[in-house]
Each structure stands twice: as C-alpha cells, then as structure tokens.
C-alpha cells in the first residue's frame, strides 16, 4: 500500500509545490520590478525614477558597510527602550485597573477613548514637549505600545478562567498565592500577546518619529537620502527597515516559544 513511503512522498510533494510557486512568485515580482524600471527609465512624468534591483542592491551593500549599523543602533535603542518601558508600565497599570474595580470603571473609558488615536497624532505634541531628541521618540513609541498592551493586560488581570478560580478556592489559596499563581500568569500571558501585536506598531512609530525629527537613526537616513534624490538608497533603506522588523518578529517568536512552550501555537494564531 505504500504506507509510510507514500505519506512522506505526499508531504514532500506538497512542500515542494508551495516552495516552487513561492519562488516563482518572488521571481515574478522581481521581474515586474525590472520591467517597470526599464519602462520608466526614459520618460519623465510623475515617477521620474525607478531604479532596478541591481542599483538598489549596490546601495544596500554600500550602506551596510558604512552607516547602517550605527543608524540601526540608534533606532533600535529608541525602540527597545520605549517598548520595554511601555510593556512594564502597561502590565502594572493593567493589573491595577483590572483588579481594582473602581479604578477600572473610572479610567478604562478614558483609555478606550484615547486608544484609537494613534501615537502618530501625538508627534507634534511630543516635539513641543521634548523637542527632536531621543526622549521624544522613545515617548512616542512607548505611548503607542502602552495603549495597545494595556487592553491585553487589563483583560488578563480581570479575567481569570472560572475553573482555575474554583480550583484555587478548593486548594485553599490565600490572596498572595492567588495573585502569584493565577492572576500574574494570566496577565503576563495576555501581555505577551499584546507585546507581539505592538511590535510592528512600535517599530512603525519609530520610523515616523525619525522621519519628522530627522536627527539620527534609520528614519533620519531615509530622509537624508530622499532629500538628495538618491532613489536607490531610499529603497535600500526601506528594505533595511523591513528586514529589521522581520528579524525582530522571528526573534520574538523564538523567545515566546521558550518562555511559554505550551501556548506557543495559540499565541501565534491569536496575534
């Protein structure tokens, strides 16, 4: 009947097909890119310059050998500081608002009202308050991440599954034990989900903040090459930005899998 052999063959075939088509897709996209760059090379008009993949690659390598690491360090520092602080604060505030009913009832509506207003709207105010420096950008990132994670934190803190609650009561846990064994883990696992969701939002905020402030970092570099009409370098920088986001995402997944192995699958599908 084939059994194991045919099973393996089936699986390999399925993977091979999706891999093949995927590569075809990438090649197709690059092909379109090359085609467009050729077509638009001569003409003027609105899109006056679309460099092909090769010039972009060239600029990318150039950048990599020069300022990339430095800029990356600036941007990442802004991001990590803002993100970490926000996650910690959101956890604390979330616990408070989630467990103390009165505080929650008063302050949660406010949070709900402010949340939809993206942190991007706060950029000008941040400029007024903090100017163009590190604090300003970190504040923006932190604000954005905080507003996202707080909801998850409150959720986790206020909602402990009923059957776990009953088990705790049955085992005779006191308040402190309940906190440590039930409430805290529930909050933290929700916070983790929120933290992952806010990763990309936070990283995007970094770039906007740097575009406006234009003092240091990837965003600043992006502005500077834009102002010198260096289109290949602009695209190269965009790629760097995307690649960093991708790497951060993967790293986060790995850490997640380590910390909460039993929930890894669920977290992935919820985020």
């Amino acid at each position: 009947m084939g059994g194991l052999g045919s099973q393996l063959r089936g699986r390999v075939r399925a993977h091979a097909l999706s891999g093949l088509l995927g590569c075809a897709g990438v090649l197709l996209a690059i092909g379109v890119w090359v085609l467009l760059s050729r077509l638009l090379a001569g003409g003027g008009g609105v899109i006056n310059r679309l460099p092909g993949p090769l010039p972009v690659l060239q600029k990318l390598l150039e950048y990599a050998s020069q300022d990339l690491l430095q800029d990356l360090r600036f941007s990442l520092r802004v991001f990590v500081v803002g993100w970490l602080l926000a996650v910690v604060c959101a956890t604390g505030v979330g616990l408070l608002l989630g467990r103390v009913r009165v505080l929650g009832d008063v302050f949660l509506p406010m949070v709900e009202a402010i949340r939809p207003v993206s942190s991007i709207a706060w950029v000008p105010l941040s400029i007024v308050w903090f100017g163009f420096g590190f604090t300003s950008k970190a504040f923006l990132v932190g604000l954005g991440v905080f507003l996202v994670v707080i909801v998850y934190a409150v959720d986790g803190a206020s909602r402990v599954p009923a059957d776990l609650s009953r088990t705790a009561a049955m085992l005779g846990m006191n308040a402190r034990q309940r906190f440590v064994n039930l409430i805290l883990p529930s909050t933290l696992s929700e916070v983790l989900i929120g933290a992952r969701v806010s990763l990309m939002a936070g990283w995007g905020t970094v770039i906007v903040a740097e575009l406006v402030a234009a003092d240091a970092g990837l965003g600043a570099h992006l502005i500077s090459v834009q102002q010198s009409y260096n289109v290949p370098a602009v695209i190269a920088t965009m790629i760097c930005f995307g690649a960093t986001g991708f790497i951060m995402n993967q790293l986060f997944s790995l850490i997640e899998a380590r910390l909460l192995p039993w929930r890894a699958g669920i977290l992935e599908s919820r985020a």
């Binding site: 045919s6 099973q7 393996l8 089936g10 699986r11 399925a14």
Partner: protein, 270 residues
C-alpha cells in the same frame, strides 16, 4: 455486485435512475497522514429505490454521499449515475441535505429554499412559491421569513431537507437528516419523507445511525463495516418489516444490529 432494488413492485416509472458504486476506494490526507476511509465499496441503488446506509460512526458514510454528489472524486473506482461517471462540481440531477444544515445566514428561510431553484433558472416568484410549498410540507410554513439565526438546530435541518426536496431531484442524498431532531418530530418527519418520496420517486441514499429509521424508510439497508469501510451486507426490507408493531420488524432490527456487532441483553439463551 450487490444491488438495492425498489420494493414498489411496479415498473420503475419514478424519476430516478440507477446509482452505482464500483470498487470505490477513498482516503484523506491531512498533515502528512493518510486515512483510508472507503475500501472497495461496490453496490448499486436501483431507480426509485431507497437505500439506507448504516454503519459505525466515522466509517465513511458521509464520504459515500460526497462522492455520489460529485463534491469529490474517488481515489479509485468510479461512481456512476445512469451509467455515466458522476462529474465533479455542480450536478443538476441531485439534491442533498448535509449533516450541518448549511443555511446561508444572510438569507431568509424562504430564500434559502428558493436559491437552488433560482440557480437553475427559475424565476423569483415561482421559486418562492415552490419554496413556501415545501416549507409547509416540513412544518415550517410560518417561519418562511425568519433568518436561520433564529431557528433551532432541528428546524434548520428541516429547512435543509425542504431545500433539497424543492429541487425535485432525481437523486436524493440525505446525510443523517433527522439526527438533531427530537424523537417525536423524527417519527413524524420519517412519515412525511416517505410520503414525499412516493410522489416523485427519486433514487435515494439515506445515511443514518438509527437502524429502526432505516427499516421504516428504506427499501434496503446497506451495512458498512468499520473504517476503512466496505459493504458488509445488504438487507432487503419487506413491507411487513416496516410496521413497528410486527414481529418481522423486531427480527429485522435484531438481524441488522447483530451484523453491526451490537448484541442486546437477553439474546444469548433466548
């Protein structure tokens, strides 16, 4: 090949044709694992006959229907309708009621029953009129304007049946249609179904886990084995078997249950 023939005794003037499974085998592949569902199933259902398929849970009875409906192609073997292999995709000779009612939530009950007719070219007013008729038949005439979200599981299932019947199919495939309905309604619906079938005489394949239902409704009972399923035995049902009070009913019931490996207490030793 084992065949199911109509007990009507009259010439086959019903609307149906013959449905034949010829050495049908089928399997599913999921996550790299292969599950054999059907193994060399062969039997035929004569025109206008009602074949009730019974068997252990998960033995592939639903798959049989799916293959007969052209929703899947058998891994090997062929399913033939009136001599020709069943085509994949929409087939206009058949109507099917699934295990889940599968009503379109954005349409009213009436619209749900009518949609098949409209897809096949009927005008809106006619389709709605016919829909109302069939809803009356399954006792849901008052709910024609309701939305599926407001129906109970059993009611939704009846709408599904009305929808299949309204197509006046030559081949009717029913997948445990009364499983979610309470016992009293089930008995009533069995009677109504038989009446409807007598009017149009389609070829019917009726999957059920309820053996007594199979005896009452079917012309023959096809007993399937465990997965990977094949046909164990086909029991013919005589008219006197259908009367629940008769001893021949009890005998037939015991026979079929025995074939399924279910032995009731007090059997051994009389």
């Amino acid at each position: 090949m084992m065949a199911v023939r109509s007990q009507a005794g009259v010439a086959d003037d019903g609307e149906g044709g013959e449905l034949a499974f010829e050495h049908v085998s089928h399997h599913y592949v999921s996550g790299g694992r292969r599950t054999d569902v059907l193994a060399d199933v062969s039997f035929a259902v004569g025109a206008g006959s009602v074949a009730c398929v019974v068997g252990p849970s998960g033995c592939g009875k639903s798959t049989l229907l799916s293959l007969a409906a052209g929703l899947q192609r058998p891994a090997s073997g062929s399913v033939r309708w009136q001599g020709e292999a069943v085509r994949l995709g929409p087939n206009h000779h058949l109507g099917m009621a699934f295990q889940q009612p599968g009503l379109f939530p954005w349409m009213t009950v009436r619209q749900n029953v009518a949609v098949g007719l409209r897809t096949r070219g009927q005008g809106k007013r006619d389709a709605h009129r016919i829909a109302d008729e069939f809803l009356e038949t399954v006792g849901l005439g008052d709910f024609a304007d309701a939305y599926p979200a407001h129906l109970s599981g059993g009611m939704a299932q009846r709408v599904g049946i009305a929808r299949a019947l309204a197509l006046r199919p030559k081949l009717l495939l029913l997948d445990e249609p009364f499983a979610a309905v309470d016992a009293f309604t089930r008995l009533k619906l069995q009677g109504e179904l038989k009446t409807l079938l007598r009017l149009h005489r389609p070829t019917v394949v009726f999957v059920t886990h309820d053996v007594s239902e199979a005896i009452v409704v079917g012309d023959a009972i096809v007993v399937m084995s465990q997965r990977p399923a094949s046909v164990q035995r086909i029991f013919e049902v005589q008219p006197e078997d259908r009367k629940r009070a008769s001893p021949s009913y009890a005998r037939k019931l015991a026979e079929v249950l025995d074939c399924l490996g279910v032995h009731s207490e007090g059997d051994a030793g009389g």
